[in-house]
Symmetry: C2
Subunit: 212 residues, 2 copies
């Protein structure tokens, strides 16, 4: 979602990025609050924007629809993280997964919804086809984007089977980490440690295979 | 879907299994035909059953709902395949993935919808929340079931992180293979070869990592 960020200078970007993140979080929180209160069908982009004190035009700078604002899923890797990963050392699978786990954990630390919130949203989604369709489309877009970044790192075609497969594995590993996180009794720490743990488990699975 | 099959004797099972498979395919085809013709909401289980010449009770032996009959996704591994896999030699990740790729390819060869059909069904799903929800629930159930079979093979807990992670990887790899298959110009051969290829690619990705 924040791939449109470019960096004129490092400190300026830090401030602007933080403000953008806050507005995005406010729009998402307002959407969730209004949908809980009024039901999904009754909530409009105008209402959400008014609640946060921005124009509908600003709303659409952050989300393409109220469906998207409801999920506010972590989108594509922001440019600084994507660059850090693409320019990292090593093209072998283990190095790629190690660094991918790092940047995805950092990214999710910022953006992942809490387990309770996610449960809430998924319950809403069950009754509203456009919400569920948006959710699936977003997951697909994130995975496609990830395949592109992986291809940059490994020097392979973006639509190549290997980059796509690695992106699919990474998404499965993130899901596994988020699931472990949601099963913990205390979620205050954020999901980063669980996601990192899942990537470590993945690499260990294959490391063990290599030595046996 | 066919885990209820038990084996009194090998030849009898072959016949019964084949008949079951045919009835299942007929019910699915009739559901798809009726939904295309009348729209999802107007189609009933009674109509589908009549079309195939079975009772609604028989319908429910195959599918829990018309949503499920519309997808007729390959379900859990049938008992003979699950046993073959669980009892196979080697608990290391590479051996597990090799054999998992084999049984999943065999399973999908029987049961996977054609790319055109899948596209059709997904278009229907976009307009009907219960269809999309059924689809996601089925994918989850298959993955959970797979984790159980993997745990049997590796001697780890069924709800353990490793078995779940491997199941997630296997699903991602199957998806990658099906995607490649759907992009081919000729689908007459079925998806087995593409799914096998995706598992080979997965193992190669990690094999390369191990030697670098």
């Amino acid at each position: 979602m924040t791939t449109t960020d470019h960096r004129p200078s490092a400190p300026a970007e830090g401030l602007r990025a933080r403000r953008r993140r806050q507005t995005r979080a406010d729009l998402h929180a307002a959407t969730l609050r209004l949908v809980r209160e009024l039901g999904f069908a009754k909530v409009t982009v105008e209402m959400i924007s008014t609640e946060v004190g921005v124009s509908p035009r600003t709303f659409f700078n952050y989300f393409p629809s109220k469906e998207a604002a409801l999920f506010a899923l972590p989108g594509a890797l922001p440019a600084p993280l994507a660059d850090r990963f693409a320019e990292g050392p090593g093209r072998d699978t283990d190095a790629v997964l190690r660094d991918l786990g790092d940047v995805l954990a950092d990214h999710l630390q910022e953006a992942a919804p809490s387990p309770r919130e996610l449960e809430d949203i998924l319950r809403i989604a069950e009754g509203v086809p456009s919400v569920l369709a948006t959710f699936l489309a977003q997951c697909e877009a994130v995975e496609r984007d990830l395949a592109g970044v992986i291809a940059l790192r490994t020097g392979t075609p973006a639509d190549g089977a290997d980059a796509e497969l690695l992106a699919g594995l990474a998404m499965a590993t993130v899901r596994s980490g988020l699931k472990r996180w949601s099963q913990q009794s205390d979620h205050s720490a954020g999901p980063a440690a669980s996601v990192r743990g899942a990537f470590t488990a993945l690499r260990a699975l294959f490391g063990r295979a290599a030595v046996q």
